[in-house]
């Protein structure tokens, strides 16, 4: 086995161990331990593959982002506890002010916020008018996260399923009528916001015809086919922009690859077109796909929020929306903080993965 292959095997083994260990932890250990373990794992990976400097960078960004989030509540004019608790006694409001650290200076408020946050002690205040108690945000996020993740996952799957064949096809037939019309279609698809596509799909497939439900979510455990029916239109709406992006990138990438020497050689060897396309041309392009997928993460998160609200799917986006409506500012802070942190970490992980997997980068590192 060559050097490269062994390296790759090592990496995949580590990833596998990591994933298995993580799942075990999530199932067995309390939230705090799991979070700590995940954080440690990511930190180790970052240092191993991208150096201490990168880790420092990540930590700084995390600190700044959480600081920004903790400060948001101070932007509100007047007394935020007014909006949060509404009609309540001054003692309750004072208690809440204490708890939120609004009477302290910004830094100790931040410190408190961070402490609570890390311990998972993040509250969701009810406006019962009587007490400043609440249910923890973590609980609700725990229920909502799988829905959002599934939605994003299905959107990616749909996008890939449609984009890859189209990309290959148009690359193979570059310059043809088909190619031109697909390109124009892709261009239009990019300009089409995901919610507009959602409206079209809802009207023609759910209102005029009864193929799909207009709104609502069915968990997989409850009814598998209804589950897919309830997520199909949302995932399709989300996938629109992705399809266009993936297709175009794949196409131009493959056009380049197809012009390379080793393709000519393969062809001269008599390999079938299909084999050439799928095995030799597609593989290098998958890295680009991964890249674009990662870059589009931000757009996807935004899209998920809007689509969840339109289709009333009980994911993180809808949670955010409801917290906004109910003026639950502390809960909102926590949610935004969590989303931001996960986003930063996801980007870091993709970064690291990319540098691990991309042979060019690895060679550059090995050489330099």
């Amino acid at each position: 086995m060559g050097e490269e292959a062994r390296h790759r095997l090592l990496v995949w083994a580590l990833v596998a161990i990591g994933v298995v260990g993580l799942v075990a932890l999530v199932v067995v250990a309390p939230t705090g331990v799991t979070v700590a373990a995940v954080a440690a794992l990511i930190a180790v990976a970052v240092v191993a593959f991208a150096g201490w400097r990168r880790l420092l960078q990540v930590v700084v960004v995390l600190v700044l982002v959480t600081f920004f989030v903790s400060v948001l509540i101070r932007l509100l004019p007047g007394d935020p506890t007014d909006a949060i608790l509404g009609f309540s006694t001054p003692e309750q409001r004072a208690d809440l002010r204490q708890e939120l650290g609004l009477d302290d200076n910004i830094f100790s408020q931040y410190w408190d916020f961070l402490n609570d946050f890390l311990r998972g002690d993040t509250n969701y205040y009810q406006s019962s008018g009587q007490r400043a108690e609440g249910t923890p945000v973590w609980d609700r996020l725990g229920n909502a996260l799988p829905v959002s993740l599934l939605l994003m996952f299905y959107a990616q799957v749909i996008a890939l399923v449609i984009a890859i064949p189209l990309g290959i096809l148009t690359a193979y037939r570059a310059g043809s009528r088909l190619d031109k019309s697909v390109n124009t279609g892709a261009f239009a698809l990019i300009a089409l916001p995901n919610f507009v596509l959602a409206y079209l799909l809802i009207y023609y497939l759910a209102v005029r015809r009864d193929f799909f439900p207009t709104q609502g979510y069915v968990p997989f455990g409850e009814n598998a086919s209804e589950h897919f029916r309830s997520l199909f239109l949302p995932a399709l709406s989300l996938s629109a922009g992705l399809i266009a992006a993936y297709m175009r990138l794949l196409r131009s990438d493959m056009i380049q690859t197809l012009q390379e020497d080793f393709i000519t050689m393969a062809r001269s060897k008599g390999l079938t077109t299909r084999r050439i396309l799928l095995r030799h041309a597609l593989r290098p392009s998958s890295f680009t796909l991964l890249t674009v997928a990662a870059i589009n993460l931000g757009a996807l998160v935004g899209g998920v929020v809007v689509i969840e609200v339109i289709f009333q799917l009980p994911g993180v986006g809808l949670l955010l929306f409801q917290a906004i409506n109910a003026k639950q500012y502390p809960a909102l802070q926590t949610m935004i903080g969590i989303i931001a942190i996960v986003y930063v970490l996801a980007n870091v992980v993709v970064d690291v993965l990319y540098s691990v997997l991309d042979p060019r980068i690895r060679h550059a590192r090995a050489a330099g």
Partner: protein, 336 residues
């Protein structure tokens, strides 16, 4: 090729890919990946095609409508016409009121008027946000690209932090938390709504605009005439604003247009999330939100579709135009 700013290994790879494949790729606000004229990769078009003229036509029409809105032969955007509610577009039946080709909205206001005045608001917000983004982000990018070194790292770090929060979430949080304070300052809740959105979306646009400006500035700041000017003892600020900036601007024009398209969509998204402007002031976003229930019950889908269509056509036109301009000025080198 002049040294590209490579903040991470991945980004370096992206930059190479982008350069190779003639596609602008941006890690921040999602500037859409524009069309590559089929079969013409690598060829820089110098003439605006038919599509670009269509785009200019639509945008021109929109501009005309917006400017001459008060002169339109329609009722005002807040004027309720008795019996017009939910009227279908191009309605011929006997109980339809003539003179309302786009139909009526949920309350009985004329859709044409709503859409045109909605365009005013939506584009005001979008343009304002782009301006904010350019004023702050452009300035930061210019400074970073010109001075390099520590200052650049600091600015890039700051932009990175802004990029760390997904764009919509950032816009949403800023809008929610700033809305009331702005209202205290401005008084009118309508104006406050517009300003808050403009400001919030502008802030969200800062990082991408900042980065692109910086990339462009880097390219230009290393040219000989700049070195020469510096050798002659010209002040930095003079060089920056007199020599470098004018060369950066054309490239940025295309980015400005593309950003505008994205922000128009963002305004609509924020309206859907409940952070938009409260009716009766119209924006394309809140027209959609008002009409949504009547889409799902099938009674008056035209409200949502007309506003959505307006957004789609405008974004399409802007994308096309922005793209054409970008290709004309050949900013391939200046990406990222």
């Amino acid at each position: 090729m002049p040294e590209q700013p490579a903040d991470t290994l991945r980004e370096k790879a992206i930059a190479d890919e982008a350069a190779a494949t003639d596609l602008p790729v941006d890690a921040g606000i999602e500037v859409p990946i524009a069309a590559v004229e089929a079969g013409t990769e690598g060829v820089v078009k110098k003439r605006l095609g038919f599509g670009a003229w269509l785009a200019i036509g639509w945008l021109g029409l929109l501009l005309l409508l917006m400017v001459f809105a008060p002169l339109l032969p329609t009722p005002g955007p807040r004027e309720r016409v008795s019996g017009l509610a939910f009227q279908q577009p191009l309605c011929n039946a006997s109980d339809c009121i003539s003179g309302h080709p786009l139909g009526g909205d949920t309350i009985g206001r004329d859709m044409t008027a709503r859409l045109v005045y909605g365009a005013r608001n939506s584009l005001f917000i979008g343009t304002g946000a782009v301006i904010v983004g350019f004023l702050i982000g452009g300035f930061l990018g210019l400074v970073a690209g010109y001075y390099r070194g520590r200052l650049e790292s600091f600015i890039v770090g700051f932009l990175d932090v802004l990029l760390s929060v997904p764009a919509l979430i950032l816009a949403l949080s800023l809008t929610i938390f700033l809305q009331e304070r702005v209202q205290d300052i401005v008084g009118s809740s309508e104006m406050a709504g517009r300003l808050t959105l403009t400001f919030a979306l502008g802030i969200v646009a800062i990082p991408s605009i900042g980065r692109i400006t910086r990339a462009n500035t880097l390219v230009w700041a290393q040219r000989e005439f700049v070195t020469a000017a510096r050798a002659q003892g010209a002040k930095d600020s003079r060089i920056m604003f007199r020599e470098v900036l004018p060369n950066v601007v054309p490239a940025m024009a295309a980015i400005a247009l593309l950003a505008l398209a994205v922000l128009i969509i963002a305004e609509a998204a924020l309206s859907i999330l409940g952070a938009g402007i409260t009716p009766p002031a119209p924006t394309w976003g809140n027209i959609i939100v008002e009409g949504f229930d009547y889409l799902t019950n099938g009674r008056a889908p035209h409200i949502v579709f007309e506003a959505s269509g307006a957004i789609f056509l405008t974004v399409l036109a802007i994308n096309y135009l922005g793209d054409a301009i970008r290709e004309r000025f050949d900013v391939r080198e200046a990406r990222l």
